[in-house]
């Protein structure tokens, strides 16, 4: 197997296979109410408390499009640099299931609201463009709960009718790592736009993964299998690895791959056949006669364009050009909008280089350890900015700063106060330092003699002694200077 991140190659005997992946991402539209009804969409509500007569498909109930969801979809399309279709059509996808009250899902089949676009991935070897085939709006179904009762299935319709964007990529992805980067980038763009919160635990982002394999160098696609409804990046990667290897084994065994829908079993780490192509549903798509074609004007689209914030790619470029960050640093800082906002707030009043290092280093490590998001950081951007200024103006040393930082993590305290209260202010008065240094030299006469006779390595010992005696507060630069003179 290759370690090249953008390429995931499987070697069997003399053959080398590459994996071809396309994703259908289902992203829940951030919206107070559902796609065709006014019911709330809050996560975690009591079952069946956010269900209108429309969501439960009562006789004579009719869908009415939620304009906000349309705006969100168009914004996402703009974020994906995609073609916005001024005319799109809602179709009915007909199938029976207990948690599908209408007996059909309202979706967009032939004429989606958003056409072709692209997403740029930052891979270790460089950038990679992934094509977007389309984005369409559709309703989510309800939830069937099979494990509450030995005989009955319970149905929760809170999700029924919630707006989803199905974002279909072209089969441009070639490795589990690219899938990871793609999902993260997509999520980042949507979070910047405020169109999907990307919360995979809450099911706001899930994907159907299409996997096929082909001999390296081949231009033709192999037969694909679709792995349905995978809800974490890790599971997507595991499912792809399992599925790709399964397909290669079949080919090597002289067998053919059946086009089918498969499920990923997270317990056994394997994909299993759900239904074959022959058993595939005939969804009997046709335009929903309850809804008129959706038509948007140029003005409508232009107004939305004016609401689009700076997106990660543009922000990254600006950070590199304006703040002289490395691409690596810029990537990390723009990866989600909260982090970049935090960074920009910190550097409003403090040094960029120090801020970058402190955020990517200390802050991320500390947040990680406490399992906190940047938005939950105990240290506000303002206070981190103050801490950085205390370092910059020499009030405290970098080492002391780490102590102060630790205390700040316990609760958002003003670093100046911590420094004052604990007396951590750096000693930068040369006269006071001279007194200290004289005492250290006095106490270590023998070592001073050795140093003078050429054992220059001992200089570090003296610095350490001075720092120790000062309780770490001595300004290291001054200590160096004075020591050199005195010795």
């Amino acid at each position: 197997m290759s370690n090249n991140k953008s390429e995931y190659l499987i070697n069997r005997h003399d053959n080398q296979y590459e994996v071809v992946i396309g994703l259908e991402v289902h992203a829940q539209v951030t919206s107070e109410s559902k796609l065709f009804s006014t019911s709330a969409t809050k996560f975690g509500a009591e079952p069946n408390t956010q269900v209108s007569l429309v969501d439960a498909a009562f006789p004579g109930m009719l869908p009415v499009i939620n304009e906000y969801c349309v705006k969100q979809a168009i914004k996402t399309g703009i974020g994906l640099k995609a073609k916005i279709n001024k005319r799109s059509v809602f179709d009915r996808k007909n199938y029976f299931y207990a948690d599908l009250p209408q007996g059909y899902q309202i979706s967009q089949f032939k004429d989606p609201i958003v056409g072709e676009g692209k997403v740029i991935l930052d891979m270790p070897e460089g950038q990679k463009e992934v094509g977007i085939e389309r984005l369409h709006l559709e309703q989510d179904a309800g939830k069937s709960i099979h494990d509450l009762d030995p005989k009955n299935t319970f149905v929760d319709l809170n999700r029924s009718g919630v707006a989803l964007m199905e974002i279909v990529s072209k089969p441009d992805l070639r490795s589990p790592d690219e899938v990871n980067a793609y999902i993260k980038k997509l999520r980042s763009i949507m979070r910047y736009l405020g169109t999907c919160d990307g919360n995979m635990q809450e099911g706001s982002l899930r994907a159907d993964v299409n996997v096929s394999v082909r001999k390296k160098g081949s231009k033709e696609f192999g037969t694909r299998c679709e792995i349905k409804n995978v809800n974490s990046i890790k599971f997507m990667q595991m499912a792809i690895e399992y599925e790709a290897n399964r397909q290669v084994d079949l080919i090597e065994d002289g067998q053919t791959i059946d086009q089918e829908t498969r499920l990923f079993d997270t317990k056994n780490n394997e994909t299993r056949s759900m239904r074959s192509k022959e058993d595939a549903h005939d969804y009997r798509y046709f335009p929903d006669p309850d809804l008129l074609p959706l038509e948007v004007s140029d003005d409508f689209i232009e107004n939305l364009k004016s609401e689009i914030p700076e997106l990660p790619d543009e922000k990254k470029k600006r950070f590199i050009e304006k703040f002289k960050l490395s691409p690596y640093e810029a990537n990390i800082l723009v990866s989600d909008i909260e982090t970049s906002n935090y960074f920009e707030n910190v550097i409003k009043k403090s040094d960029v280089k120090l801020a970058t290092n402190w955020i990517i280093g200390e802050l991320f490590a500390a947040l990680n350890e406490k399992n906190l998001e940047i938005t939950e950081s105990p240290i506000s951007a303002g206070n981190l900015s103050k801490l950085i200024n205390l370092i910059k103006d020499g009030t405290i040393s970098g080492k002391i700063a780490k102590t102060v930082f630790e205390q700040m993590m316990e609760g958002d305290k003003d670093p100046k106060k911590i420094v004052e209260e604990k007396g951590l202010k750096q000693e930068s008065d040369p006269k006071a330092l001279e007194v200290l240094i004289d005492k250290v030299i006095d106490d270590n006469r023998d070592k001073a003699t050795e140093y003078k006779s050429g054992k220059v390595k001992l200089f570090g010992f003296f610095v350490g002694q001075v720092m120790k005696v000062s309780g770490g507060k001595a300004n290291p630069q001054l200590v160096n200077e004075i020591l050199k003179k005195k010795l």
Partner: protein, 485 residues
Amino acid sequence: MSDITKQSLSELVENIKGKKLSSSEVTKAFVERSEKSKELNAYITEDYANALNKAKKFDEKPNLDLKLPGIPMAVKDLFCTRDLRTTAGSKILNNFVPTYESTVTQNIWNEGAILMGKLNCDEFAMGSSNETSFFGNVQNPIDKNLVPGGSSGGSSSAVAAQLTPITIGTDTGGSIRQPASFTGTVGLKPTYGSCSRYGIVAFASSLDQAGPMAQNVKDCALLQEVISTYDEKDSTSIDFKRNKYSKELTKDIKGKKIGIPKEYRVDGMPKEIEDLWKKGIEYAKDCGAEIIDISLPHTNYALPTYYIVAPAEASSNLARYDGVKYGFRAEGENLIDMYEKTRSEGFGAEVQRRIMIGTYVLSSGYYDAYYLKAQKVRKLIKNDFDDAYKKVDAILTPSTPSSAFKIGEKTNDPVSMYLNDIFTVPVNLAGLPGISIPAGHDAKGYPLGLQIIGKAFDEQNILNIAYAMEEKIDFKNNITDWWIK
């Protein structure tokens, strides 16, 4: 006043406003007549006690500024009515009580009318004789064992028999106009988008339209004025300037150009219908209208087009009746078994036939050949009308190719049943307004109707033409009360 139920809506409104009659007196009269008329089987659900209570309450504090002050009224059981069972004529909704009110009925109650009960209809409005109803046949008051037409058969029967002064029906392919024609009453199918579909049990969403049924054109105009409103809850509702149909009603149609489409002279059309049509042309001329021959070349394709589009939409619209959430459920071994049993036992034969047709025409591999082609033909049919309306203001045709037939006569021949809608279906496909007015009798003494088709949103014009012709025709319905013992 002893003959309250013989009064037209307009007379009743005038008498209540003039305090010559109370709502209680009127309601009591219609309730009593309804109770004596059970043999017609016009009602599925009666709500007489509530109606009498509401009438009493109305009389305690009468608001005489309303358009339908204290007027009792029964409605087709396809309209969802809050707290009163709504079945759509189907076993699958036998026990269904809505918690909500359709926009059209709400508009009616807002104008002071009082609900007496729910009227029989073909199951899910699929039928032309009211014989597909789970709740049994409806008798046409014209003659024993005669169908009242369908699907709004309970409505036409109830209006003709004067069990209700007026009513509302729904019309997907002729379900208001054909039963009106069969019972000697007036029925208007408004422009698609004129009346909200919110709260009406759906049959075929792109064709369904509610409309008024009455004993005369004036009553019809008044009811249309009440029920037609723009409704944000129906995405296909259209926000156009609606006339005050009853106030603007006029018999002056001098110079109106009325088209006679040659394609409506169908093969095998009885001479009686041909003669009626000729008479209608003479009446129109007498009213000062100008008669112009026109062509609607795609008329022949209307019926097959309709029987693709309507079942396709119905097959999807009726998927929600699955035994999971409300209505009838048959127990099953598992989910699929429950679905199959529920829908096999819950739906009648005609509904099942149309679900099958609709499922077939939408299936992959058949969609292009049937549904897509039908949509294209539908556009051509609409274009025919658009072209015709460059030359004429309205179109005059017979409402049906025959008078009412006997119960059971066509139940085993669905195609012959479907042919009954041959003159009404094109109007639905084109989304236009059409009105049927009684215009004469056949040899058996059964009523025959003429249809006036208008331009989109031009209900006022066809109401005016109907109003003028009604006076010339001077039709008298021959109701003997044969069912009252």
